[in-house]
């Protein structure tokens, strides 16, 4: 848990390499490396665009608009923001306990989101790296390269994602910008016809999800030297856990463990998150660095997401995924596995769990009930926490007597992983780039480490021609020696 390579001793005498923006992650990111004349690495930093502008954007709006507005944070995980905001505002309308139908419809929506997001990430963001290797030419590493050389895998990725989006569509009312969750419950029931359409496909989806777990397990086990060490760093980890320590993406209490798996805190009501988590500001990044107050800035940072969740829970409450979790834990040898590339394996275990949970929910008649809303004593503050595809997501709002939002605080999954991602790329830079001539293949090693975390860098505008990738080498005098651009 060191800060080595965060700040160089004499940056003015070093050469700068910038990767801007990081390829194949949502939104904009930038990596800068400071190298000396022998290409030895002295400083590595990942800079990411923050969501603070959006928090200001939310302030002053009526609270009931917020669950819809926050979907515009990201085109890949809008449902996570939608539900985290709705959970926070449940407290504002006094809805302490949702109706069974409302909670299960929200769960169905969320597990559909997890399924489609994990499928997109694995099959289309990372499988090119995993199937073709980290040094393959850029055009073959992209999604279309996978489709050409592995048509069945690409097709399954498309159809898994499509199914998850259909789950979202029937529960939120629309394919995008849905309005399913509202403070106090949901505004749309599921029809028998909609349920039956999803039931028709779910067993195929489960089968493909199982295959995906076995595929990544095989890839991981074929090269343990690489997969167990690439970008590795040790850290604390945190997630929500549900009833009895179950893996639960929608609701639970906060649990954190140290790098050896020993509990730091457990059973924490997430409304009290500010007592346990603080965010550090660093002058070189717009994104904050959260840490556990009890351990301080240097030792209190942590990772979130699939690798944390699967190792933080006591069990997974669906049989196929639980079997896969046990295999993963056995492989890890009884102590936490910290290798970033193990995110892929655990992400597929979670996708399988999401598919199984969707199946269980579709067989639950509560889903078809029409008692969808509750309310109670009005409050002026609410905190909603959810396990989004990329990790723990916090939404915190204060509302005035005119129903307008006066304060919004979001800690998004990628912010929770900020220090962890920086540590991963520093390890990769030390291991692969230190003292070597920088090539595109080597720079892609940095990006492979980042993509393992599936960072969401805010859904920057995607307009045609808007997102070039630039790599710049700048000498100590600030003169540009070499540049690459595409996109």
């Amino acid at each position: 848990m060191s800060y080595q390579l965060e700040t160089a001793a004499h940056p003015e005498s070093l050469r700068r390499v910038a990767i801007d923006p990081v390829s194949r992650v949502e939104g904009h990111g930038k990596v800068t490396l400071l190298l000396d004349e022998q290409n030895k690495v002295h400083q590595v930093r990942l800079h990411i665009v923050e969501f603070r502008g959006f928090e200001k954007f939310i302030q002053g709006r009526p609270y009931w608009e917020v669950p819809v507005m926050v979907q515009r944070l990201c085109g890949i995980c809008p449902v996570s923001h939608h539900l985290a905001a709705a959970k926070a505002l449940d407290q504002v309308v006094g809805a302490r306990q949702l109706t069974p139908a409302a909670e299960k419809l929200r769960r169905l929506m969320h597990y559909g989101q997890m399924l489609q997001s994990h499928a997109l990430h694995f099959f289309h963001l990372c499988s090119p790296d995993l199937l073709f290797g980290f040094d393959s030419e850029v055009t073959r590493r992209n999604i279309v390269g996978v489709a050409r050389e592995h048509p069945e895998i690409a097709k399954r990725g498309v159809l898994l994602r499509k199914f998850g989006q259909e789950v979202i569509r029937v529960t939120s009312g629309k394919r995008v910008h849905g309005t399913g969750a509202v403070p106090g419950g949901v505004n749309k029931a599921l029809t028998v016809a909609e349920r039956d359409e999803l039931l028709r496909d779910i067993y195929q989806i489960i089968a493909w999800s199982r295959d995906a777990v076995h595929l990544i397990q095989k890839v991981h086990m074929q090269d343990p030297g690489l997969y167990n060490s690439f970008g590795i760093f040790r850290s604390n980890f945190m997630s929500l856990v549900g009833h009895n320590g179950d893996l639960d993406f929608y609701h639970g209490t906060l649990r954190a463990r140290d790098d050896n798996g020993k509990a730091i805190f457990d059973g924490v009501d997430y409304c009290q998150y500010e007592r346990y988590i603080e965010e550090e500001v660093k002058p070189w990044s717009y994104m904050k660095f959260p840490y556990f107050r009890a351990l301080g800035k240097e030792h209190g940072w942590y990772k979130v997401g699939p690798l944390a969740r699967v190792q933080n829970c006591d069990q997974i409450p669906t049989p196929f995924a639980e079997r896969e979790r046990k295999e993963f834990v056995d492989y890890a040898g009884g102590s936490p596995l910290h290798a970033p590339l193990a995110y892929h394996w655990t992400r597929m275990i979670e996708m399988l769990h999401a598919a199984e949970t969707i199946k269980d929910l579709l067989h639950d008649d509560d889903l078809l009930a029409d008692n969808l809303l509750v309310e109670g004593e009005r409050a002026f503050e609410g905190v909603g926490v959810i396990e989004a595809p990329r990790g723990t997501l916090f939404h915190h709002y204060r509302v005035d007597e005119n129903d307008l939002v006066t304060m919004a605080n979001l800690i998004v999954s990628t912010t929770n992983n900020n220090q962890a991602m920086n540590e991963a790329i520093r390890h990769v830079a030390r291991r692969y780039l230190h003292g070597r001539e920088i090539t595109e293949g080597l720079l892609n090693h940095i990006e492979v480490a980042i993509r393992a975390f599936d960072p969401c860098l805010s859904c920057a505008t995607h307009a045609l021609g808007k997102m070039p990738l630039e790599v710049e080498l700048i000498d100590a005098a600030g003169e540009r020696l070499h540049a690459l651009a595409r996109g």
Partner: protein, 172 residues
């Protein structure tokens, strides 16, 4: 529209599909959603809502390849940066466009994915509308509104007579 069965790539939608892409909260990136709203109203008034399906999304993704199944014409409407004219309408060919991102696929790659999945491709066009500013929370810029009106006029011509798309495209 009901969910398609996994592996079922047969189309069951309208003969024409128009994808309108963009984030409504990011300045001129809202051009796609803005045009979507205008088209929706116009299609109803023109009695064309049964023959044209509109799809609005934040960005193109690989699953949009499935929305090409069974179509006779596909149009992708999106904001552009440094677009050489306020509105550019051109024919698309499937291709593996060198890209660093799968966050948003270019329309050519959506066609390519459809080809890889064994789907026949409809004639496809992109309507790129020039944007000026993409800041969070900003409304459409005045220039973008003007360009959107031009784009709407072009789209009306195409959708009233889809066989004319080739003539209206750049170089057509």
């Amino acid at each position: 529209m009901p969910a398609k069965h996994p592996g079922d790539l047969a189309g069951d939608g309208a003969p024409v599909v128009v994808f309108c892409i963009g984030n409504p909260s990011r300045g001129d990136d809202a051009l796609g959603p803005h045009i979507h709203g205008q088209l929706e109203n116009w299609l109803k008034s023109a009695g064309l809502d049964a023959t044209v399906e509109l799809i609005e999304d934040f960005q193109l993704q690989i699953e949009h390849a499935l929305d090409l199944a069974g179509r006779q014409l596909a149009i992708f409407v999106d904001a552009g940066v440094e677009t050489p004219a306020p509105v550019v309408f051109r024919r698309l060919a499937a291709s593996t466009v060198a890209t660093h991102s799968t966050h948003a696929l270019p329309p050519e790659s959506v066609l390519q994915v459809a080809l890889q999945m064994g789907m026949p491709l409809p004639p496809a066009y992109v309507l790129c509308v020039r944007g000026e500013s993409f800041a969070l929370g900003e409304p459409l810029s005045p220039a973008a509104r003007t360009s959107a009106a031009m784009a709407m006029q072009l789209l009306k011509n195409v959708l009233e007579a889809p066989e004319s798309a080739g003539h209206l495209a750049a170089g057509g």
